[in-house]
Amino acid sequence: MSTPAILIDRVTKRFGDVVAVNDLSLTVPDGSVYGFIGPNGSGKTTTLRMIMHILLPDAGRVEVLGRSDTRAAHDDVGYLPEERGLYKKMAVRRLLRYYGALKGRPVGQLDREIDRWLDRLQLTGWADKRVETLSKGMSQKVQFIATVVAKPRLVILDEPFSGLDPVNAEVLKDAILDLRRDGTTIVFSTHDMSAAERLCDRIFMIYRGNKVLDGTLDEIQSDYGFDTIRVRTAAGMAALDRLDGITSVTDNGNMQEVRVAGDPQAFLAALAARTAVHQFEVVRPSLHDIFVRIARPTTEPAA
């Protein structure tokens, strides 16, 4: 097996009394797409910042593309921070050249990449416009180009889809898949569970600084087994009211996800006695469902 793109070995990071990341170990294989999920404030951004050497761990070791030297920034890593930052007064091309030059790339190579990406993300014609004239979605795409313009081998994206409309989010997802085809390793954090399910080879979930999930979607789901029943009935939620054996219900409007204690077939019989069943499917829980199950068991402790 080749050197992993990222190796996090028993890393702990504290801010004062708060343990942001607790004894975390994680390996991101070269060429994979890794999704980081977790509720707000659970340590995702801190972990990503440690990978970028912007923060240094209090204990443990972070190795990126085979290097653990934290005194130099990594020119082969592209980083899209959660909070976007672009110089408002700069023209798009000059900005992208500057960000690319900071990764040590020559202008000629950068210009080719800039043109290719502007075209790819439907921003041709904006190269000489100032950043402040762009719409929010456009500047977010420019920010993405700034991250990948230097052709990094590893791309770290902190919440790349937040604030994008569905069309632009789709454009960005395609761009990420393009990068993966070229062999780029991609790590991104997201609250968009369907994006994580669709794009990721592996998913990592952090909760209150601790690793709670790590594996392929298949591995994660099989840990939970076929414990979820997806039903669509004529009566909807009303049909499930006080039905025997139900332990939890997630109402998705036209469809409900139900977990039952006993035999699913007995549940189906009971349900069919009440209403017309349009759909009845025994499935593994969705990532969204798993996320909610992990993150909701207790109320948040007071800070």
């Binding site: 920034a73 890593v77 672009l86």
Partner: protein, 425 residues
């Protein structure tokens, strides 16, 4: 540390600054403002005061008033303010009534002022003062003029009373002026050279101008750095940059870019100034050695104050906090400006020596001393450069540590105590 990245940051900062409107404004507007204010002062001085002012004279000697009347005609012909004098005959017992009445006339602005000439003014042993009353205590042209005229008249009268010819007195009391000259040197052929007349422009105006130029450039570049760092911090650009550059490199690049802008600005001003100097025959005043020292002190000052302001920018999260912290830093910049006159008057005094060796003041005050006579001894110059250089290196290092921590802090601004802790950690 990556020199290449420092240079890329510096280059981008430099281009952004030089292309900005603020830079154009400071390049063009500064000389315009300066020449404009000088021109304005000249115009104001010659044109501003053309008012007519009425003065009433109570001449208790009965001998001086005609001379005043005569002098008024001469004075009014020179242009500028016009005086109209008139006489008020007052009996000795009606003096207080007259004073009151005249005061009332001043209040109603019928007259501008009145002056009493007491009867005893001719007695040198026992002369009473002239009593000038007006509502404009800060207007000095009229009282000093009347003082001159009356005194001339009194002196003439005293000489006449003593049977001395005033013309003879004037001839005999002719004064001798001092010629303020430089030192002499042997010219090798048995003669002497040097000893040229001291030119106040060369000896005072040019040194002061150089010092103020450093001040202006520092004041236009250091607060700029604070604003830029704060803007980057608040718009989260810093985090993007920190994914590619080490914080120390980022700060060094910014400082270098700012130093580059300062040098460009100073070169433009200095170039313009030397063209003007050449025209008026002062080409020799700016020696290459002096220019080299000027540039050295300029860069040191920009780096010292630049690193202080950068650190403040990195530590603060809103403009209000930053302004509060800028106060003490501003005092450091202002301090030499408050004490430069001391150095100008006595460049080699102990006070001047001590002041010019204080690292924050050196770029201004040592530069001033170097361009004044007598110049500082070489050891003082070397010591001051050494001290300032070490201060600069320390401040850049400390600011780098504050920058590294502060740039990612969001929310609350840091206090001075916290900043010190960041430096130590």
């Amino acid at each position: 540390m990556s020199l290449k990245k420092i240079f890329i940051v510096a280059h981008s900062e430099y281009l952004t600054a030089v292309r900005s409107r603020a830079f154009l404004v400071s390049v063009i507007l500064m000389p315009v403002l300066m020449t404009g204010s000088i021109a304005l002062q000249t115009v104001v001085a010659s044109r501003a005061d053309t008012e007519t002012r009425r003065l009433v004279v109570i001449d208790q000697t009965d001998r001086i008033y005609p001379a005043i009347e005569q002098a008024t005609t001469a004075f009014n012909q020179r242009g500028g303010p016009q005086f109209i004098v008139s006489r008020e005959q007052v009996a000795a017992d009606g003096l207080d009534t007259a004073r009151l009445a005249l005061s009332e006339r001043v209040r109603t602005e019928e007259i501008f002022a009145f002056v009493e000439i007491p009867p005893t003014v001719f007695d040198p042993a026992n002369a009473a003062k002239l009593l000038y009353h007006s509502d404009h205590p800060s207007y000095l042209t009229l009282p000093s003029w009347i003082e001159r005229i009356v005194n001339r008249e009194i002196q003439g009268a005293r000489f006449k009373d003593a049977n001395v010819d005033p013309a003879l007195v004037a001839r005999l009391s002719q004064t001798v002026d001092v010629d303020n000259l430089g030192l002499l040197e042997a010219d090798g052929a048995g003669g002497l050279t040097g000893g040229e007349a001291v030119d106040p422009i060369k000896s005072t105006a040019i040194p002061a101008a150089m010092m103020f130029l450093v001040y202006i450039v520092v004041m236009s570049s250091a607060p700029q750095l604070l604003n830029a760092v704060m803007e980057e911090k608040m718009s989260r650009i810093s985090e993007v940059l920190l994914g590619s550059v080490l914080p120390t490199d980022l700060m060094l690049g910014k400082l270098l870019g700012s130093a580059g802008v300062s040098l460009t600005l100073a070169t433009l001003y200095l170039g313009g100034a030397s063209v003007v100097a050449q025209r008026y025959g002062y080409a020799g005043a700016l020696t290459p050695g002096l220019i080299a020292l000027f540039l050295l002190f300029l860069v040191l000052a920009v780096l010292i104050f630049g690193s202080i302001f950068t650190a403040i920018g990195a530590a603060c999260n809103d403009m209000k906090d930053a302004q509060g912290m800028m106060g003490p830093a501003m005092l450091l910049v202002m301090f030499p400006m408050l004490s430069w006159m001391v150095v100008l008057r006595a460049p080699d005094s102990t006070v001047s020596t001590v002041l010019s060796l204080i690292p924050f003041a050196t770029p201004f005050l040592m530069l001033l001393r170097v361009s004044l006579q007598p110049g500082p001894p070489a050891w003082q110059l070397a010591l001051s450069i050494g001290l300032t250089l070490s201060t600069m290196l320390f401040l850049v290092w400390a600011a780098g540590r504050i920058f590294r921590t502060g740039i990612l802090m969001q929310g609350k601004s840091a206090s001075f105590a916290e900043m010190v802790r960041w430096v130590k950690s």
